[in-house]
Symmetry: D3
Subunit: 304 residues, 6 copies
């Protein structure tokens, strides 16, 4: 099997880095990093352990697929380890994450909770300017506050929009089905954000949804944020705020692998909380989505 | 978030009552109660712990949704706790449940196994007369006996039909796919019960299924009984008698939220057995269905 | 319930043989056997415990179904226990399995990992000649080697094709979606193997897929091999090499129950690894598929 | 290994009967049977699955041990399967259990909850007269009622004493540490029951405790009832009413293997609830205690 | 059973408040409260769910015990629910906790991580003056900082000592066995703190250890802080930073119930993280220790 | 905390190598390696995942302890990753392991099942000559064959003795309590092997046991093999062949840390099977024992 170079090290024996890579160079064109910040979550905890679980499950993925013939192993990528943070200090940790993210031209980050997208977007926008956003999630994440707190895993994209990091007219949310007050929903749509409800996905096809997404974000630079709770709880029990009625992995996979026309400049995969998982299926789903994203990059010849 | 009144108590810190309500008044228009009777089950045990698990998971639901804009918190509802029962004594327990249920004008009950529907229907029929029944389940529950026992979680609706509590011509079963002898199936259909097989749901849309259900039950008073094993084992592993090929939560959600034309007078959600669950997904599915039912009530201005 | 003869022994109390049968005669027309060999797996271990878990879950299935009105209990079948093997010795174990399989005219085997299909097919081909193959799986299992090893649960069908045990033009794979190098894929299709990708199943109907399968295998003698990882990880977490985007049980069930025109002469159900399961759902899926297969046999009056 | 006759069937492949025996004859000198009644429990459910789990774990035990050189395989014993019962009907089930137990001269029963000891003792006392009792437990099980119910897994031994099935002066409880009202405790001790508190065991040695037990029960016919919750929750999490501060398995093992002077005529091992277990350790503890008991019988040349 | 007033509500059906109390009055002499702050932990997360799990398990405890004949139900106590906090903001949350704690004359708090002891001690010291401390733990919790952070669940008691909240000469740590640099250990002992190593407990008796503790804290006002990881991982797997070689529950129970001479003015039970627990054994251990503490209060006629 | 050099990377964020080391140099004085061979086990599978789980848990250990003041971080050690092996081929894999082991002057290996000790001892004996052996285990592992197989995780030390790799008069087994036929036991003792039964440990002290061990192995070169099932199932559920009555971690820790007089030249820690673990307690126990062993090396100034 040409996609895993190490002979005599079966999957179970492979190195527990992302895609079992031996490359940890901070100079690689594409950097995979863990961002285990999880102190801004409203319900269950534990996404600090997400990066390790995704790395472990990632040994089961990689290479070429029938529906993704472009190979992540053709990319110049490295697993650069986990970002540092300051325990119990949200403000400082956000600054530290942004500063560490700024060092990499193309970052694929593993959360941590969804708040990590905020400093990652700050770093990405500083490098690339205002970005389009493809956003898989059960939740809009555009609340003004959660339980009195202004900076959480549920207010991240309102802040990002308000800071001009992302262009709401080039922002599309897929899989939304959460409880949300009318005001927050109105605010979101008034900014120009496109919402593709979870049921829209169920009643349509991955191909058609991919076309809608591509139409919204256009050819400009775009960031992918994939909250694992965009998937159905049956497909991703290992997360903090599951919501019934979500996407199946075949749908997310079918959509993502068809986004070859989007000009992606970075990605995060967040909210994997392994303590609530079974059989690593949530971690595997996360690793798979990251792998397909890398296939998109490979299709265009790299991350640049 | 206007739908949860308690500031500074994030979901994880909220009260573990249904929808985290502080109202425990037995005089509320709508009463939510646990009925932890589980001694009539043919396979795995443990639904006695269903009410607690559903309450806990319910903290993740409530408020308005894109597909259910009516808010349970607009209702006058209370969580009145668990019903008493007599350990190891089925006959007496059924009487106690009926008698306690009779105190509430509109009850939303959390099982316990499916046999609890029988005393609940007895109480409801006494108040409302013969009822229509919307019945989500993998199993017909119209056996004449199970393993020699005449009163079980599999004979409940034959008894209910025979006692005249429900009108079989206004009874519709959704999700059926269990092993069942020809005689039992014939008896069920001969009574006039409409069966929507699980595969019918998969090959149709929630909207179309909701229309079929509405057509069967019409405008008369109707009871909703939701056996969580109507869902697929992947969506609801935490139950006693799972059956492959079941409904996805997006389907049940899509159907239930479209039953606004049905005149519901009571509901039960049964067969959640948390010991077999993962990541609370079964409890969450149960809590979500109850929440959507309450949204239907809110749409018409209350439970009356 | 006529489908389970033992009164007063509810499902939970039933014998833990396949379908709770009391028949262990090696002379039955159809033999169900466990083949707990699991030392050739590339990722997670534990399928040695598959037979026991499937037997246990099988107590929940059996009898007639709305979509399978033919009753396994009408068959002359026995659970003949587990096959012997030589710990840590693959070559010898394969010979022992083949030799034990040869004793039964119609065998339904429970793995163990997918390599067990190889000796089972050797025995079946010796009895029946070259066979057609209906192959549910996430993986093609036609690699030339895995991590340096030539005989694994991923090279089994290349060997079987090369040995002439199966006719690749009468071989159809359903659910494929794994990472696979271009060379292996090309080899497989060049042999004449038909591949129905997982997404094909999602975008089609069970009925249409069943027709495609039937068209490929025709009326000749055919073997059914069902790798539980053909199902989605959400439906079958209890397996060693899960792959996102797989079949739902309703699809597999809908396909399998419609294969009445296929002339099946044997079956195996492999790769159930209970240590990674939740609520027995993987074991139940396996037991259910075996039960539906037996229904197909019952429809034609037995296994002969 | 001479203690397991079946070559080429490693532990994991062995038959899932007690000690993997192939003997199911109801005429064996010693009968092992499951009694999966569990509807009289005050807290967690699920002991109906105890017998199956104990059988499965029992494949890891059997043969001779350094501290038990007498071999259960030297006994004429059989696993006769599970007793029938009537779902949801305690009275009738107790009668059925007693009647089935009466058929065996020496029964080793696997519960089910502790109430099963009552009909088992009724059958044993009918055969042997009033019995001594060695009773491992966290709880006294001599309450007059539990939550209004007179016949439960907590009132069993008051009933047994009142019915004269056991002689309280020849009854010794080991491991007691539960919450218990003063009245119940006083009643128990007034009957003449000897209580060896859990802390007594911790502060003493197995040898000394075994001597105390032997002194209490003397040379008369004696029954052994082992509630798995006599063990510490860390050693036996898989049970319904765990209690901190319990016995370690090394203590129970050290005590039990030193009871060779006691004239045992029957045994039950109850309250194993596998849904709450981890790594089968509770089931294994149960199977081990049964195996050591059989070693005691083997030491005297059989069960008679 | 006089210790649970509610007839017909077996343990499994009881209210999920601490000891199933119906009293939620903030005016009770003794208040039990949850403090679900968990963002200052160095390893695994999830103690935010500790209070709920302890409440649930607490239904299995309460009343009188052979080794604790004084009844918590004789106390005027209430479960006042959970404290509010500000998500992701440690400084503000600590202030909020202190302020809420200040409202109660005698508080029994359920963490949350061990950092919650700091604001609780601040409130207690404000009311009572400098306190003695009985501290069960695997870790000294007197580090100057952890991974760059000065305020964590490992620096809490250095801060408390430095702030003069506790008198180190009246502070005793029981169960210590963690990795700790020489400097931190020296600082701790130089302050006058008494350390009873875990192995000391194993090689001694609960009675002797209780005497040592009592001798250290004397007759002055004293606070009890019980970090569940003071127990062995086998007894308390459900925690964030387990450490091998810890106390068994029989030892902690035996020590705690013998501290009747200590003048306790408050308690916390921290670091229960249910996501890592099995069979509720960790939660049960926590609930039991709280119950025994309440027995100590009952022995002296109340919390005052 | 000087023992973990990486500021701002709390335990949960640390690198998942052994003790989170960044050193992977094959030239380090002491090499830690995984040997994930697990195809020779008689009962449950899954030790192939042992090395990864131990590495992960090892982040919780390291540094100095009250009872082990010597710091592993003072050693020149590296985590060199996993050894290659040939799937499904025991003979070849054993050769590969031996050959890889031979490259390291002082190896600390993580199994894998206990058979890995055989090639590791072959390599060690080739370098050092015949060795003494300190062997923690529930099982003697000196069978002549298991279920027909001559080379398994139960025959490893008979082979090692027969090959002269270890000197049976300098071999001591601690924790033995398994079922074992008289012949195997006699053979073992006749070779001169010293057996310290598990109950001996319970009735003695770690200090006294350490003295007995030291007396047996003397001052010659000695190898440490620690089968995690030497611990009690409550302390190490995550293993394949648990046995009741085993050592507590406080005992193993107390013994091991007192073996400073033994001249250790290598170690393995085997039989951790994470799929059966809870809360990582088994992995943690394994990592802790390895850490204490490294402390012994540090005490004498390194591994040489």
């Amino acid at each position: 099997m040409s996609f895993r170079q190490t002979a005599f090290l079966p999957t179970f024996a492979a190195r527990e880095t992302f895609l079992a890579t031996a490359n940890s160079s901070t100079d690689a064109a594409i950097a995979v990093a863990g961002v285990p910040l999880d102190i801004a979550t409203t319900n269950r905890a534990g996404t600090r352990d997400g990066p390790a679980a995704i790395r472990r499950a990632s040994r089961m993925v990689g290479g070429t697929y029938p529906d993704m013939p472009h190979n992540p192993y053709d990319l110049d990528f490295a697993d650069v380890g986990n970002f540092g943070l300051l325990m119990g200090n949200l403000d400082e940790s956000l600054k530290m994450i942004e500063s560490q993210a700024a060092e990499y031209p193309h970052l694929i980050a593993m959360g941590g909770d969804h708040l990590v997208s905020l400093p990652l977007l700050r770093a990405a926008a500083k490098r690339h300017g205002r970005l389009g956003l493809v956003h898989f999630d059960a939740h809009v994440d555009t609340w003004a506050e959660n339980y009195g707190a202004p900076v959480t895993h549920g207010t991240n994209f309102r802040i990002a929009i308000n800071e001009g990091l992302i262009d709401p007219h080039r922002m599309v949310q897929i899989g939304i089905r959460c409880r949300v007050d009318a005001g927050t929903l109105a605010w979101t749509q008034e900014q120009g954000v496109t919402i593709i409800w979870a049921e829209d996905v169920h009643l349509s096809t991955p191909c058609a949804i991919a076309e809608r997404i591509t139409a919204v974000v256009g050819s400009g630079k775009t960031y992918l944020t994939f909250d694992i709770d965009g998937l159905d709880p049956s497909n991703a029990p290992g997360t903090g705020t599951p919501e019934v009625g979500g996407l199946q992995t075949w749908q997310a996979r079918g959509i993502l692998t068809r986004l070859g026309a989007v000009n992606f400049v970075g990605m995060d995969l967040v909210e994997v909380s392994p303590a609530y998982d079974v059989g690593e299926i949530t971690s595997l789903a996360g690793a798979s989505m990251m792998c397909f994203y890398m296939g998109l990059l490979a299709a265009r010849g790299g991350g640049a």
